[in-house]
Amino acid sequence: MKFERRLLLREPGIGALGRLWQIPWLFVLLLCMVAGVGYVALYSAGGGSPEPYAARHAIRFGFGLVLMLSIALVDIRLIVRFAWVGYAIGVGLLVLVALHGQVGKGAQRWIDLGPLQLQPSELMKILLVVALAAWFHKASWERIGNPLFLIPPAIAVLVPAVLIYKQPNLGNALITAMVGGAVFFAAGVRLWKFALVLGAGAAAAPIVYEHLHDYQRARITTFLDPESDPLGAGYNIIQSKIALGSGGLWGKGFLQGTQGHLNFLPEKQTDFIFTMLAEEFGLVGALTVLSLLATVIAFGFLVALRSRHQFGRLLAAGLATNYFLYVFVNVAMVTGAIPVGGVPLPLISHGGSAMLTTMVGFGLLMSAYVYRDTDMGAVRDSS
């Protein structure tokens, strides 16, 4: 307590109330709208009833809101100081889940914490962004150009990515690598270095395919030709496309979606919630939701551009990209553009773990906004 107060008091003239005033309430309102969309969709997925999904969704969001606002008020200097501690905890959880995790759908992904099932891979992406932002914070242009300086953060990306891949969860491992890559990119790492890594990755792809699990290969092959196995692995993609396509321009109307309500649509309350929305509200509804989500992402970049320190910039850009990847992968998945990968649509999908980790992320983003003008010290040339 004493420590925190001291940190806060170092910024003269602004009290705790002032910090509260600094919170971007418009953004909070935006998130409430997204969660509201989620409530409507889950109300429909529950067969026109708040049970069993929508009510719990609202309670979780309320809980997440408190968590998010609390994190928003944490001094950003505190965050940068404990960035690597957080990273270490995240990796520790991943190791723990590998050793003792709950097996769900053939993969070890969960830690059972009583009322809450924690999925460390979700949390890890946020902790990784924080750690990488801390690493590149204060780095001069020369240092960023030095390949030796890039090796530790590259390993920091690789370790959780490999652990997540081993769960096995190929999709999330790739997303983790992409989130890390986005921070590298935003920090100014030269493009040819990305090309080098991508080239190496492409060369390794056939070897990786060899080591994929059967269900992962099935996803890739059914993605290439979903009609090849209409009742097996291709079922989800086909049913999702049918539900989406039959929605048309204006949709079938609230609670009128036949495919979702008759259970043709698999996992309609989680991975395929967007399909449910698009079936009932049509292209117009789908694009409205997509625009809403784009605004959330855009806000992240706005925070990044307004921050006066590199940590805040990288943190905001990284977190915005993280949310973007959720949205893109999920919607691309349900429209059959990429292989199905079990990625939810946070704040809309039913599920506590994804929502809470996303809210933690947005809390950090807000902290970067609240403390955008904080002096974080000067750029260093050498370590």
Partner: protein, 624 residues
């Protein structure tokens, strides 16, 4: 500004550029998603809307009731019976095993039944009913209903099953039904329905498409696992049509009660070819096929040398013996190789080269003309006439009488039989000998004829027309086929010749010295029967046996000759035609002719033919 500040500015500039690139890239990718949504929802929307409709609506078939089969008097001989059965819906009970346990205490279930039910419960989806027990009795149903609270998931529903009230009496004619086999699948979706039956033999098979009807459909809204949400549309199917057959069930039953194993009887309306009775002993109970024939039962049927499953009236093949002599006589008259008055001397045998062909009457008949030769069944007369005719002219006449040709009877698998010709023998690589012709003149040799063919022959002699035997009288209440004699084409045989043969056949039964004198119809019938006996050896009798005094009664039964008789009555205005074959009956006059007399008498009494015919009404018994 310090160097550090410049450095700060530079890092910031680079970040801004990169962040804008990143943001633009993401907007581009979201734009791609928007484009993809547009393509799915607007450009291809109609296609997916159709798919969604198909997804949600499941068309199911409704089994139409199978048409009934009625006898000529409108009695139902094949009907649909309610089949009350107990079903188990696994999802309606917490513990299917416990429910079955309770059930078996109320209605005992065998080990195999339990195993089958448990297998089906495991294999099917939990809301699909599984048949626990078919054919519940009233008592069992009452006990189940009484214990309903202890039997969660058990329900009683009603299906239909086929029953045959006449059981084994009409089994060969009506046939039976069974679940469709792979080869029965003719594209009719109805056959995919569980519990559906198709005709497997007899009229059930011949008229299967008429009896089957067309499936109705019901459009159901279903969810992804196939559970019914509600019914959207229902189109009733077309029920199968009733088929009325010409057989009189009561007559059939009384005939069957007169005959023993190995006997077959065919009684026809000589005027129009309607089959009035067709009996083959032994028979089987077609009701057994309903609940599935056990392996033991099947073995018993197929191992039985008396072949209960085979209809001997249409599939039993016999040499006609002397019953064939009318055909030879008519062929001879037509070919003018004899005149009606020409007498041929019978010394009791005929010599041809080294071979001697005996007459059944060892002492010989003396000089006989055609009429007498038929009446006393003189063999030598027909040896001589056959020798003059040659086998091919005999065969040609036989075919005109429906012998050795397919008869189009509505009984699948009925045999056409065989009437040999010179070409037929040569196709086998053997020459046709004159001795063969002589033997075939008295109906022995290679002939293979069915009792149905012999009855048809009798009907054609009686009418002079090519009447075809048939069983179908009406379909769906509408009469079929011309039921009048004039509808059949003439055989083209001069009435004078026919009259001579009919007269001779009358003499066989009614004149002193006729071979079937004992088979006269009783006086109260008020009509006379004209017929012809036949006795066909199944083993050669050697000269030594003959000389030692061969007595057929001393032979084992399966070595004794078959006894045959064909007849029509009344002789002057024929109504009925009959054929009787008694396997190993020893003699046509002793075993077959008296049976034919009893059959005729029964037919006259039961059907009461009058000037207006009999049983002419088309039955329209109320359904169910």
């Amino acid at each position: 500004m310090s160097r550090k500040n410049r450095e700060e500015q530079r890092v910031r500039r680079i970040f801004t550029r990169r962040a804008l690139l990143l943001g633009a890239g993401q907007i581009g990718m979201l734009g791609f998603l928007a484009h993809r949504l547009h393509r799915l929802q607007v450009e291809e929307g109609d296609r997916y809307a159709t798919l969604a409709e198909e997804n949600r609506i499941s068309a199911r078939l409704l089994a139409p009731p199978r048409g009934r089969i009625l006898d000529r008097d409108g009695r139902v001989v094949a009907a649909n019976q309610m089949n009350w059965r107990a079903l188990l819906v696994a999802e309606q009970t917490a513990d299917a095993g416990a429910t079955l346990e309770t059930f078996s205490r109320i209605v005992p279930l065998s080990e195999q039944e339990r195993a089958r039910i448990e297998r089906e419960v495991r294999r099917r989806r939990r809301f699909v009913p599984v048949v626990v027990r078919d054919f519940l009795t009233w008592e069992e149903m009452a006990r189940i209903e009484l214990n309903a609270p202890d039997l969660p998931g058990i329900s009683i529903d009603v299906g239909t099953t086929r029953i045959y009230p006449e059981a084994e009496h009409l089994a060969h004619v009506v046939g039976y039904v069974a679940p469709p086999a792979e080869r029965d699948m003719d594209g009719d979706p109805l056959l995919e329905l569980p519990g559906i039956r198709v005709g497997r033999s007899g009229v059930e098979r011949h008229h299967d498409l008429i009896l089957r009807g067309r499936a109705g459909t019901v459009q159901l809204e279903v969810n992804a696992v196939g559970r019914v949400i509600r019914e959207l549309d229902r189109r009733e199917g077309v029920p199968g049509q009733d088929v009325q057959i010409s057989v009189d069930a009561e007559l059939q039953k009384s005939i069957r009660n007169k005959i023993e194993e190995g006997t077959s009887v065919v009684l026809m309306d000589a005027r129009n070819g309607e089959v009035l009775a067709m009996a083959s002993q032994p028979s089987f109970d077609p009701n057994v096929f309903n609940s599935g024939v056990s392996a033991a039962q099947w073995r018993q049927w197929t191992a039985n040398r008396a072949t209960p499953l085979i209809n001997k009236a249409t599939n039993g093949l016999y040499a006609p013996g002397s019953t064939f002599k009318m055909v030879v006589g008519l062929a001879a008259l037509e070919a003018r190789v004899v005149t009606p008055g020409e007498r041929i001397y019978c010394p009791g045998h005929m010599d041809l080269g080294n071979a001697r062909f005996h007459c059944w009457h060892r002492a010989g008949h003396g000089g006989v003309d055609l009429r007498t030769a038929l009446k006393v069944s003189c063999d030598v007369y027909f040896y001589e006439v056959a020798k003059r005719l040659g086998i091919d002219r005999i065969a040609a006449m036989a075919r005109r009488f429906g012998l050795g040709v397919p008869l189009d009877i509505e009984l699948p698998g009925a045999r056409a039989g065989l009437v040999p010709t010179r070409d037929w023998r040569q196709a086998q690589g053997k020459p046709w000998a004159l001795g063969d012709t002589v033997v075939h003149g008295i109906g022995q040799g290679f002939y293979q004829l069915t009792p149905l063919a012999l009855a048809t022959m009798a009907a054609r002699i009686a009418t002079g027309r090519a009447v075809q035997p048939h069983l179908t009288r009406a379909i769906g209440g509408r009469p079929v086929r011309g039921a009048r004699t004039e509808d059949w084409p003439s055989l083209g045989i001069p009435e004078r010749d026919l009259r001579l043969v009919r007269e001779a056949m009358w003499a066989v039964v009614n004149e002193q010295g006729g071979t079937a004198r004992a088979a006269r119809l009783p006086n109260e019938i008020g009509a006379a029967m004209a017929g012809k006996t036949g006795t066909t050896q199944v083993r050669r009798v050697s000269r030594e046996q003959r000389e030692r005094g061969f007595r057929v009664e001393q032979q084992p039964r399966e070595w004794r000759p078959h006894a045959l008789f064909v007849a029509f009555a009344p002789h002057d205005d024929p109504i009925f035609a009959v054929s009787v074959v008694v396997e190993h009956g020893t003699s046509g006059s002793g075993a077959a002719a008296p049976l034919a007399r009893d059959v005729m008498a029964e037919a006259f009494q039961l059907l009461r033919p009058g000037p207006g015919g009999f049983g002419t009404r088309v039955a329209e018994a109320p359904r169910r």
